[in-house]
């Protein structure tokens, strides 16, 4: 299958080709690839694509996959609406 047609990050529509291009340009950490391609910035926060990208980095750079750091996990961990956060509180200016 054409790497152009393989979606790695389905939240942000990032293809395998996009990822490989960035790694080949020297962006060999997930944190850098995230910031340049938006992988991991969508609703799943990288829970789907993170490991797939780690595997690509490992294959291209030769670094073993155990040594590749996954992205920082940031709160609130899953999507939470504003109204859920403030439910029950009086809102005043």
């Amino acid at each position: 299958m054409n790497e152009d047609n393989i979606i790695i990050c389905r939240c942000e529509d990032v293809t395998l080709k996009d990822i490989r291009n960035l790694i080949q340009q020297g962006f060999t950490t997930i944190e850098e690839i995230k910031r340049l391609s938006r992988i991991g910035m969508g609703p799943c926060q990288g829970k789907t694509c993170g490991l797939l990208i780690a595997k690509e980095i490992a294959e291209i750079t030769g670094i073993s996959i155990e040594k590749i750091e996954l992205q920082n996990i940031r709160p609130p961990y899953g999507g939470v609406t504003f109204e859920e956060i403030i439910a029950g509180d009086e809102v005043e200016k």
Binding site: E32, R74, P76
Partner: protein, 383 residues
Amino acid sequence: MKLKNKASVVVIGGGVVGNSVAYNLAKRGVKDIVLVERSFLASGATGRCGAGVRQQWGTRQNCLLARESMRVFENFKDTLNVDVDIELKQKGYLLLAYSDNELGLFKRNIEVQNSLDIPSKLVTPQEAKDIVPDLNIDKLVGGAFCPTDGHANPFKVTYGYSKAAVNLGVEINKFTEVKKIKTEKGKIIGVQTNRGFIETSKVVDAAGGWSQQIAKMVNVELPVYSERHEILVTESVKPILDPMLMSFSYNIYCQQTPDGSFIMGYGPENEPPGFNTHSSWQFLETMSKKATWLLPPLNKIRILRQWAGLYNISPDKQPIVSKIKDVENFYVACGFSGHGFMIAPAIGVLMADIITESEFTYDVILDIERYKRGEVISEPSVV
């Protein structure tokens, strides 16, 4: 890859300022420039900022630097000769006033801005509502609007500068941490990193939230401190908010980026100086209350991620772009007080002027000695 072991200038810090300085120096023909960054590019304050670019400032200097930088953002690819889309969105900044006093400040600021051809103007609450139909205008006295302000992607801008710098021969070393700046008889002789020693006589400290610690390596005490500012981002939704919304008294900024997500923050109260960049639930709760009061449709939108970065704050909330008298060839670009990203293009030019001992491109006074001379005009418009 091995580091160069000799450089004409070492720039410490791979944020937008460090990269802009390196690029502008290379453009003047300076050879053998090496930039070092302890993590990845834009990993500090640059990549953690609110991604706003505004020209509506209160001091003439900040207005001028912001206007000149906007011209670079507007012509980024041509100016830097790189094919990087910085996702510029010029849908304005709408500043909200909740008292006559605050509106008076806006009026005075607009006079300064207009004198520099920045197209800002006062708006009534109804005009504010016309610009942002979902805005809650309860208690609103008026506002200020500049249609050419807006958004740019901080990662892409930094990446663009670094790419342009590399094209001009700059060596950029990521994941390279400065351990020591070696001096001999008051003169810099080199920079010791975790990846080797770089012989150099000139060092630029563009280390953002850690600039005061880099300066300590040459026994210089900078009059700046770092302070955590938190921020959050939502899922992407259809566009409902054109401009950046901002209020100093209600203490908030909030914009919808070109990808559809909302990004927002507010200035902390009683935050101790330091290097903490952890997120807090208190921020999440207060931010949620503030934002949904101002823009009620946010209620149903999901928050995806929160983080924090460091403001590097100077006594007058204006940057320090300066040589240091006591240590020959040590230069600092720090103290950006939360607005380094949007003026970084101009700061790079200014630092290149200082290092190459050229006439200043802009009529500004940002040297560190201004505090001793007492020539301090504080910037009133900071969140």
